[in-house]
């Protein structure tokens, strides 16, 4: 209570780290990110070098994480693939959040735009995700940037819908009316009073989209419309390994674990961020 006021404002990072899982998750995520970014220096071998004799070698001394159907080193491929997968996941989560927030806030705030924007959101969500993504990538052409753009467009309506719903609730709260009665501008109300108060659901949804995007990218690659098929991604590694699931299950487990661990750590970070930004929860920690 008063003690914290005298000791100065509690630091954001202190709050963030006061949840014990957060520093662990952050460390793991940074580790994964570093390993993948510096794949060129760290990877034990060329991710594309094939060797027929060592095909489907289980993890061991020669190949730490085994070798795939073409005898390529899974560890090296995993690290190189991480660049693309994490890049797509983070890129889509960020861009779709920005687009979704813009659409959702406008729809929730301006009654006149609401009808049109809500119908647009409904229409986009009526398409199966992957079909819409295929259509967009076919129009834009297959490259990592275009896949990010296409998936961002596909997932933006999910954010937009949540933002709109939350905006409709917050907009009617007395403190928003009070802010208006005391002379705040519409923009200040939108960002300071509404957006700040609906960040938690956006962060939670954003971490989901991070995971969805990595998996959707795998689907796109599998269907031949994603990133150039010779570029390894965690999703394509799972797809390729699928055929050998009875002989070499590690081929799907290893990239699967990479996806799970990065999604899990990002979600824990997201939870921590959400709590650290909410002063009511922060007090209890």
């Amino acid at each position: 209570m008063a003690g914290t006021s005298f000791a100065g404002e509690p630091k954001f990072l202190d709050l963030l780290f006061s949840r014990r899982a957060v520093p662990v998750a952050l460390a793991i995520f940074v580790l994964i990110l570093t390993l993948c970014v510096f794949a060129g220096f760290i990877a034990p071998s060329d991710p594309d070098r094939m060797s027929v004799r060592s095909r489907l070698t289980p993890p061991g001394a020669d190949f730490w994480l085994g070798a795939d159907a073409f005898g390529r080193d899974v560890l090296s491929r995993l690290l190189y693939a991480g660049r693309v997968s994490l890049g797509i996941g983070l890129g889509v989560a960020l861009i779709s959040s920005v687009i979704g927030i813009a659409i959702g806030l406008s729809a929730g705030f301006f009654k006149r735009l609401d009808g049109a924007l809500s119908r647009l959101i409904d229409a986009m969500m009526a398409f199966p995700d992957i079909l819409l993504a295929i259509a967009l990538v076919s129009i834009l052409g297959g490259s990592m940037v275009n896949v990010i753009i296409a998936l961002s467009i596909v997932y933006a309506p999910r954010i937009a819908r949540i933002v709109r719903a939350s905006t409709l609730v917050i907009r009617e709260l007395p403190y928003v009316e009070a802010a208006r009665a005391l002379g705040s501008s519409t923009l200040s109300i939108m960002f300071n009073h509404v957006l700040r108060n609906i960040l938690s659901p956006i962060i939670v949804q954003g971490t989901f989209i991070f995971a969805y995007a990595m998996l959707a990218e795998a689907g796109l690659s599998f269907l031949g419309v994603g990133v150039d098929p010779s570029t390894p991604t965690w999703g394509t590694m799972i797809n390729e390994g699928r055929q050998y699931i009875d002989q070499a299950a590690f081929l799907i487990f290893i990239p699967g674990i990479a996806i799970s661990v990065s999604v899990l750590s990002l979600q824990l970070i997201g939870d921590g961020l959400r709590d650290a930004m909410d002063p009511r929860l922060a007090k209890e920690l």
Partner: protein, 332 residues
């Protein structure tokens, strides 16, 4: 009396729905003198809040001022017609010249910002003070509204404060830019009785020190007696009686006012005497009786009460909208 700070003349407000429209305010007129407190009294749905929202330019989208005028006298002496003012122009005077405090102190503050930040935002909007000066001014305001250990409260979040403290913060927020007009929409309804008395004392003291005018909206006759210089009693979207507070309590001359006063306990009454409720309920705005809206609930009502009734001077400074005023007042 000096020129009024706020003058509302024949204000009529309609609310439209898809199929029909209802008249929420009909021909409402009142004026608020500089440094005085005018209480708007009435039941729920009588049009008190619609009046205050019309003045602040905060009517919901389907509400529209269809007649009359609202004239505000600015701090610099100029007259400003508030109806028809653009939202941009409104923003500049809201908070700076006219402010409002609300009924729910628990939810009228943004939970994510400290008290200091929220009061500071007002200064950021309406003054050119730098950050340090703003903080100093905010501290000064918190002390003015008698928040204990004000310096350590600057960085508190709303959830760390009690209801009474939050209402003090709301008052500080509303008054930090020295408005000439404060609209208080049932500011004490959600508070304990002891806290109510403190908040009313505080508002009276601040009015005295800062010289602002207060439009006080309430349904509580006790609060009216405590606070008001002048009273306007509203019923079903019209003003049925308006007088100075002393005159109104001494000679209530509209049956509705008498009903309100008879339905609350007062010291000095015979202990065995029962309170007299007003029978019936406020008519729906879409099904107004012809003539006097109060007639169906009124013990004095007669044939002539089916004809339209207007607010007329009963005696100097005391207006009543009733055909039976003389009988009602004489019965006191």
């Amino acid at each position: 009396m000096t020129a009024p700070v706020l003058e509302v003349r024949n204000l009529t407000v309609d609310f439209r729905s898809r199929h029909h429209s209802v008249t929420a305010l009909r021909d409402v007129s009142f004026s608020l003198g500089a440094g005085r407190t005018l209480a708007l009294v009435g039941e729920s749905g009588s049009g008190k809040s619609v009046s205050s929202l019309s003045i602040m330019g905060l009517l919901p989208r389907n509400g529209e001022i269809t007649g009359g005028a609202i004239v505000y006298r600015r701090k610099n002496g100029g007259e400003l017609a508030l109806n028809g003012l653009s939202q941009r122009a409104y923003r500049n005077i809201r908070g700076a010249e006219m402010s409002m405090i609300f009924q729910e102190p628990m939810s009228s503050l943004n939970p994510l910002f400290t008290v200091g930040d929220q009061i500071g935002e007002m200064l950021m909007l309406h003054s050119d003070l730098d950050a340090a000066a703003r903080r100093g001014r905010v501290l000064e305001m918190l002390e003015l509204v008698e928040i204990p250990a004000a310096a350590s409260r600057l960085d508190s979040y709303p959830h760390e404060l009690s209801g009474g403290m939050r209402q003090r913060v709301m008052i500080a927020l509303a008054l930090v830019c020295n408005p000439a007009l404060l609209i208080a929409d049932e500011p004490t309804t959600a508070l304990d009785v002891t806290i109510q008395a403190q908040i009313l004392d505080l508002m009276r003291r601040l009015q005295h020190e800062l010289g602002m005018s207060i439009l006080f909206i309430t349904h509580d006759m006790g609060v009216v007696a405590e606070m008001a210089d002048d009273v306007a009693v509203m019923y079903a979207g019209t003003i049925v009686e308006s007088a100075t507070a002393g005159d109104l309590f001494a000679n209530p001359s509209h049956p509705y006012t008498r009903g309100l006063l008879n339905s609350i306990p007062r010291p000095g009454r015979d202990p065995g005497q029962r309170l007299v409720p007003i029978p019936g309920t406020v008519p729906s705005l879409s099904a107004m009786p012809p003539g006097c809206a109060f007639a169906p609930r009124c013990g004095w009502a007669g044939e002539e009460c089916r004809k339209p009734v207007v607010l007329e001077a009963f005696h100097t400074g005391h207006d009543v909208a009733c055909f039976k005023t003389r009988e009602v007042a004489g019965n006191a």
